[in-house]
Symmetry: C2
Subunit: 268 residues, 2 copies
DNA sequence: ATGCGTTTGTGAACGTGTGCACAAAGATGG
DNA sequence: CCATCTTTGTGCACACGTTCACAAACGCAT
């Protein structure tokens, strides 16, 4: 195991981001094993349960330390504890949810939320019609109370489920109040100062990515082969390019890349 | 006809996955510009709007082709069209949502859903109490109808919002029926045959990642220093290591790496 | 103790992604 | 047609991530 590589100037310590993103996955698989009272698990088995390659899993764990016993595997309970600790789940994380509409309601009702150290400290909304109602047994409070709640309960994580137009403003207010991690469900790019983390969950983007691959499946390419790629690219004399670009823009035609110009490149 | 550089065996054609994941972001920013009737935009401006580095954006676009005019920028409308086409959004994508509980309801009501070529073909549930009710104006149909709906409307994208225990089973059925892209909201690893894409949205994972970074901010390391490494060190005779490992496992203590053994290692 | 089968931990090769920095393309004005 | 100014498209270097493959470590039986 040695010691940290140190050699690098970047990330002298610390766990690679890609690894951090997988730790919750391992933790989930381990928790399931733990509930079945499985005492130990090999990297192969656990990797299968988590849906990753076993070498990757071992390398991931190697960043945490040398847990695991050669010839045997990993002690499930011990690993659960180590990963939980590394992820900071041994402490309590109060969370505020801002924007209690369709999605905010669903999140508030989400059980798996509290299961792992996360606790809904408050539900907040700006709409007087919503404020005062309850969701999942919790009262919806008015935005005016945001600052006092965040300060009073030391909330450092905020969830934004407002319409996109309100997201940046809500974000600013959360940050101002002291929140330093934000989970954003609104389809907006949030601007935050250094030191504040933002992660986003964007249904629309996910669907579009699926659509992209879906198109590839049914459409063009035979699935795997070398594939014929379109012409144009690299070498087209300057002047012509310019003219072509002009034409394109003027006429809304398609050009250059992809199945497009299988046919005629220039309309003319 | 030409054909791709071919040199690589991997991804001979095609757009890098990281780029694909950003295209929807660019598209969203461009759509906003389009609505404001902005005719052209520079990579710098658009990158700012999308929250990315301008060099990255230019490189991303370069995979699509040579749209854009030097000294001017990109034609907004034209780019919107090109990206839409590349993502497959110029066609209609019927989608089924399975599991109309809290989250399924929220998704069904989500307006931004239909806005980009995605159309809810059907809402499905197994619970007789839910079947027959309506969500967002659509009737909730019984799972029995899944196969006929998927086949009849050529649905290739399915969204799973059932409890985790039902997810794999639902997934299998979707795939069997002909769905080849799945968006999974249940916290489960789905097994699918080759050719089927799965993307997941996992609130719990996102929160855990935030917690990890949050812990780093407030907690331990001074932010950058070389770090003091724990004892153990490289050369520890075999037997001792073994004994140590045993102890660890037996007592649920922590060991080896990092800040761990700050406080009391063993509860007792 | 020694040997055997198993499984970890990791070096090293490779693939993917990012960002700099700049030549070349084009616009624009004379 | 030339000079100048802007902005793209991309070569290149480096950072990050993944996977292979294997020695070393360990449990266990003899
Ligand atoms: N519903 C979904 O499934 C879904 C899916 C993906 C993304 N989203 C996004 O999530 C967000 C919420 O979606 P929704 O369907 O719940 O919308 P919604 O309109 O049902 O709820 C939004 C809530 O935010 C509140 N709000 C508005 N402005 C506010 C402000 N300035 N401060 C505090 N609260 C404010 C509103 O009163 C309302 O209760 C939207 O940005 C949407 O695009 C929703
Ligand atoms: N609610 C949230 O905000 C949230 C957040 C993150 C993840 N999730 C996950 O999303 C999923 C749904 O969450 P929810 O809060 O909407 O749960 P829910 O219990 O409210 O809804 C689940 C629905 O699925 C239906 N269902 C159960 N088994 C089915 C089957 N075999 N076939 C078809 N339908 C079936 C149920 O009848 C119910 O209507 C869960 O896996 C949950 O962990 C939810």
């Amino acid at each position: 195991m040695r010691r940290t590589p140190v050699g690098r100037q970047t990330r002298a310590r610390g766990i690679p981001e890609a690894t951090v993103a997988r730790l919750p996955l391992y933790l989930r698989a381990l928790t399931a094993l733990s509930e079945r009272s499985v005492p130990t698990v090999s990297s192969e088995e656990l990797a299968a349960a988590a849906g990753v390659n076993s070498a990757k899993l071992r390398k991931d764990f190697s960043y945490l330390g040398s847990y695991g016993t050669r010839g045997v595997g990993y002690d499930v309970e011990y690993l659960v504890y180590q990963i939980s600790r590394e992820l900071g789940l041994t402490q309590d994380w109060p969370v505020v949810i801002v924007g209690i509409g369709n999605l905010g309601h669903a999140l508030a009702n989400y059980g798996g939320f509290a299961s792992r150290g996360f606790r809904v400290a408050a539900l907040l909304d700006a709409d007087p019609n919503v404020v005062g109602s309850t969701a999942a047994g919790l009262p919806v409070r008015h935005m005016d109370e945001l600052e006092s709640i965040v300060a009073g309960q030391h909330v450092s994580i905020g969830v934004i489920t407002t319409p996109p137009g309100a997201a940046q403003q809500v974000c600013d207010r959360l940050v101002e109040a002291g929140v330093t991690s934000i989970l954003n469900f609104a389809p907006t790019v949030l601007n935050v100062p250094d030191g504040v983390d933002v992660r986003k969950v964007d249904l629309s983007i996910e669907l579009q990515i699926l659509a992209f691959h879906e198109q590839r499946k049914s459409g063009e390419e035979p699935e795997e082969g070398p594939i014929e790629e379109p012409p144009v690219r690299e070498r087209t004399p300057g002047p012509v390019r310019a003219a072509a670009a002009k034409l394109r823009r003027a006429a809304g035609g398609k050009d250059t890349k992809g199945d497009s110009d299988r046919q005629a490149v220039l309309p003319a």
